[in-house]
Symmetry: C2
Subunit: 341 residues, 2 copies
């Protein structure tokens, strides 16, 4: 395995493309020695954008892609038809082994579909979960799955728990991470059919640190490191996190503008308040990996700035260095052995 991490980066996806994406790439190669970027997108546009920056030229290469998949396009159709899109071209680089990882701030649907169709699943992985990091009172937790796998089966959730544990331990550096399943009460007999079936399977897993059910209320407190749920619930959690946070912050800000006294106070608390809110902003923690694929696929926020792109690129390096996919292969096949015993 080469010591260089090669990242195929969709330079056309997201609200701030191409400038912020390209800047993230430039920052990453300027800050490290062992990262190379393959920027996919329209050559002339990317050349012009790159010309604005100073960086070691050999570390960033443009791979021309003439098409762009729009966020509103139906993803299956888009991946099938736009073979020369910046997403498809970048994913094919991973498939052919010319890149280790893929990053995009573009269409989530296209990334999820392309990940499965173009990059392909690791043998034994039933469904690749999308697993963003979410801020908590204690740091971050991994929310797995927030992807397209709605109506998942219990065996999928067990794989999510295992893959999530590997990621949290070896990429985020949380030793022996705790795992909880999202439920409507702490008791084992509570839950819907999926959770009731999954619970004993997780309890029987010897290779994860399963601590039982957790209520959604406990997630922001950081009660577990790996939060397991099916994609519909995961999506609701992720979106509501953003929604409650931003509404509450708006209410606080407008509240502070209501009197002279509070306006004066607001001036004094502004820097601290800003730092606190930044700390609780999911975009600070880099993109969400789509786990269980032959190569790493990372989806960053649609409004990703250079900083998130930079953080995501560094995540890809750790992912490669820690041989995460080999560890996922091991933990999933370990399960099969247990079952056979």
């Amino acid at each position: 395995m080469s010591d260089i991490t090669k990242v195929a980066l969709d330079a056309m996806g997201g609200d701030n493309a191409p400038y912020e994406i390209v800047k993230g790439a430039v920052d990453a190669v300027n800050a490290t020695k062992d990262i190379q970027i393959l920027l996919t997108g329209k050559e002339e546009i990317l050349e012009e954008t790159l010309s604005k920056f100073e960086y070691p030229k050999e570390k960033i290469q443009i791979v021309n892609a003439t098409e762009v998949i729009e966020t509103a396009e139906p993803p299956v159709m888009a991946i099938r038809r736009k073979k020369d899109s910046s997403i498809s071209v970048a994913m094919n680089l991973v498939k052919k082994g010319e890149a280790d990882a893929f990053i995009s701030a573009g269409s989530s649907g296209a990334v999820l579909v392309g990940g499965q169709v173009l990059v392909g699943r690791i043998k034994g992985v039933e469904r690749p979960p999308l697993a963003p990091l979410i801020p908590t009172a204690k740091g971050v937790s991994l929310l797995i799955d927030c992807g397209a796998n709605v109506d998942a089966r219990p065996s999928h959730l067990v794989q999510f728990a295992k893959m999530g544990s590997v990621y949290m331990e070896h990429v985020i550096g949380k030793k022996n991470p705790t795992v909880g399943i999202v439920n409507i009460g702490a008791e084992e007999e509570k839950g819907n059919a999926l959770v009731k079936e999954t619970f004993p399977l997780l309890k029987a897993c010897k290779d994860i640190n399963f601590i039982g059910s957790i209520e959604a209320r406990e997630i922001p407190a950081g009660v577990v490191d790996v939060v397991v749920c099916e994609a519909f619930v995961g999506n609701v959690i992720l979106k509501l996190y953003e929604g409650v946070g931003s509404t509450l912050i708006k209410k606080i800000k407008s509240g502070l503008m209501t009197s002279f006294r509070s306006k004066l106070g607001a001036l004094l608390v502004k820097p601290t308040l800003k730092a606190t809110l930044k700390d609780f902003d999911a975009t600070e923690y880099g993109g969400a990996p789509l786990l269980g694929l032959n190569g790493l696929v990372v989806k960053t926020h649609g409004n990703a700035t250079a900083k998130e792109v930079y953080n995501s690129i560094l995540q890809c390096r750790t992912f490669k260095e820690q041989r995460i996919n080999e560890k996922i292969r091991d933990i999933l096949s370990a399960k099969e052995q247990e079952t056979k015993e």
Copy 2:
């Protein structure tokens, strides 16, 4: 129909029972002319608590109940065995027509089970949903269902939408309330099996103001008045609302204590901050009705204080005055006629 609203109030349930519950009852009869309370619980304890207050004696009556259902007890068993519990006795008052409504801050499970078993469903109601009001940027929305009906069917969600619309319009006073179904994207083809099946049914309803799918992110902004979802998702939304809010507030508060400047500012912004957070606190809005029963059943928060109990009692009066159950009967049978056409 009598002009007096009679409320059977479980005086033994909740963290602050019996004092805060009794105080809520006293406040309600002191503030109104047309409310009577039937307090259920241990006679000697309630007599002693009541003796601390001034109020028109004929408006509050103690109905002795020798048992208490604990929160941790399995609800089905508890309702079956503890026939002389404060919950069972109060619910039977509603069943026998001696009270119009029931309120408890006790075991949610026992209230949900007792509501169905003791009070009974309105003819035509498939599942009675628990429907709390949640704070939003615009005021409040009704989240329906947060109850025990996990693994609901599309027809249940359609009934939830209709019952929720009646409640929002006639109890909360929101004219022609908008209805949205919680989904993982705004497009009609998105969602899990349940949402995909329910969407066209809601779209076909002529008697509700259905505006389509909403993402969880949009709920706190107050994008719709009636938020329809099945109980597992509803529970996650309700609990995460509390969780994100309280974690964020703790982070802000501890952030404000980090420097002299911010400490000084904190003193100035404290009253405003407190008012804003109170505004966003679900317990300010009274209890959650369990809709579709023969009589109103209201579950308040376990930590309900006199104010929430008071608000819930006043909700019961509006519920009776507005003949909500008759309106629910009408809207549900209207559906049957449509189907028959």
